[in-house]
């Protein structure tokens, strides 16, 4: 039979915990640990002043006040703060929305037939390169660090869908479409038709992506200034790979090289943006770059670079949809983020009757 002091403290903490539903599990654990520490300290103090264990426990719990009231206020505070889980979800949206949307359009499109399928090798390379990301997901699940999971899941989902589709049908790769929607797509998928060249490019790009992803994800927790350096690193890495295998650079190629990493950096910068002016600046800068790059491609480069399949079968209205979708997704995520911020601000004004500011 459990002792009285145990049941009282546990009941109190359980009552608090019931009020914390919806918060990140790590946050819940932190709150409960802190309250438990407080109770233990108080019980110890009361016992030293001569009270029995049972009386100390009862009094300590009583002094803490109504657990429902305390729990509700704590929950409100943490909801107003915005949990990392929510921010990571918001950050994953720019990956997930265009990925799913584009895949639906691809699958529904009758345009892509009669073009060769890609090889087993590209799928194998992809799986090898996904190792670190999958490892990170495993670690996140085991340690219940959910914040690390959402963006990884977004990246994985996005690329698995694309790779599976490449493997099954493959026609779109010759069409130039991957480049058009490439803010969230590794550039190597859109490489030339040569098999060996494809394999090397895939290897290089996926390795770079695999190297960058954990670093980008680490940014969710602390480092607000990394996006710029990661963009640079990814860009240089891709530049080397592309330059080596694809010949001279053009403005169009530079922009294409930039797309995936500005996209990823935008995603990574979102959670940091709450309190970090630098992150906001990077985020907006990235978005502008992506948008400008897309429009440059749509209006100027596309007519020159599209191959016959693209020119013959792809109506302009469709290309507009391709081009706009990632931006719409990013804008939607930003709007959500701003909405959360606004609610948070309103929450602050409700809480502080007499502001200390």
């Amino acid at each position: 039979m459990p002792k009285l002091h145990q049941t009282s403290v546990e009941s109190y903490l359980l009552a608090i915990r019931r009020q914390l539903k919806g918060l990140d599990p790590a946050e819940q654990r932190g709150i409960l640990r802190e309250l438990e520490n407080h109770l233990e300290d108080m019980i110890r103090y009361l016992r030293e002043s001569g009270l029995s264990k049972e009386a100390s426990t009862e009094r300590a719990v009583a002094e803490m006040g109504d657990p429902i009231k305390v729990g509700r206020q704590l929950r409100e505070e943490h909801l107003a703060k915005g949990s990392p889980w929510r921010y990571s979800l918001l950050a994953a949206l720019p990956l997930l929305i265009p990925a799913l949307g584009l895949e639906v359009l691809w699958i529904a499109s009758p345009l892509f037939v009669n073009v060769r399928a890609t090889t087993w090798l590209s799928l194998l390379v992809m799986l090898v390169a996904f190792g670190p990301i999958l490892g990170l997901c495993f670690w996140a699940c085991r340690r219940r660090r959910w914040v690390w999971l959402a963006p990884s899941a977004g990246i994985i989902l996005d690329h698995i869908i694309k790779q599976v589709w490449v493997f099954l049908a493959g026609p779109w790769r010759a069409s130039g479409l991957p480049e058009l929607i490439s803010p969230w797509l590794p550039t190597t998928i859109s490489a030339g038709p040569d098999l060996a060249q494809d394999s090397w490019l895939l290897l290089g790009d996926w390795l770079i992506l695999a190297l960058l992803s954990p670093l980008l994800l680490a940014l969710f927790l602390r480092w607000g200034r990394l996006p710029a350096s990661l963009v640079l690193l990814g860009w240089v890495g891709n530049l080397v790979v592309f330059q080596w295998f694809e010949g001279p650079l053009s403005p169009y190629k530079l922009l294409v090289l930039l797309f995936p990493f500005v996209g990823l950096a935008s995603v990574a910068a979102l959670p940091c943006a709450k309190r970090n002016v630098t992150a906001w600046a990077i985020l907006l800068g990235d978005w502008l770059l992506v948008a400008l790059g897309q429009w440059y491609f749509l209006l100027y480069e596309a007519p020159h670079h599209m191959n016959a399949l693209w020119r013959q079968s792809h109506p302009p209205t469709f290309s507009t949809v391709w081009g706009l979708m990632p931006h719409a997704a990013l804008a939607f995520s930003l709007a959500l983020l701003l909405g959360v911020q606004l609610l948070s601000r309103l929450g602050i004004s409700c809480h502080l009757k007499i502001s200390v500011r």
């Binding site: 608090i16 520490n37 200390v356």
Partner: protein
């Protein structure tokens, strides 16, 4: 005699900031210190200290950090630069408020309070 609920509300954060100005503390330590320094005048439901602390943290007026002390992990709170600025501003505001309030409540005694009040600004 204890302060009324209305007077306590909102002032709790300010008192916590004032205590943290001296050194970083953990929750229970803050409660003990508050009780001792106010000679028991300021007493609150102890659990409600934590929403207040987390609110201050969200406002970036304090920063929190888990530390291992004597084999126990405790969450220490330290005042930030913004917290110090907010404390200074709010202290001046409270001094003005008290002086004017007491001056109206007790015109003759209020002058004594005003003289006794420290020059904060």
């Amino acid at each position: 005699m204890y302060p009324s609920r209305d007077l306590q509300r909102g002032s709790a954060e300010l008192l916590v900031l004032a205590l943290l100005r001296d050194r970083p503390m953990y929750g229970y330590e803050i409660i003990r210190e508050l009780r001792e320094r106010s000679e028991g005048y300021f007493a609150m439901e102890e659990g409600l200290l934590y929403p207040a602390l987390h609110r201050l943290e969200r406002e970036e007026l304090v920063r929190a950090e888990w530390k291992l002390v004597d084999g126990r992990k405790r969450r220490y709170y330290a005042i930030t630069e913004s917290g110090l600025a907010a404390l200074s501003s709010a202290t001046a505001e409270w001094a003005t408020f008290s002086r004017i309030f007491l001056g109206i409540l007790d015109p003759f005694g209020g002058a004594r309070y005003a003289e006794a009040a420290p020059d904060i600004c």
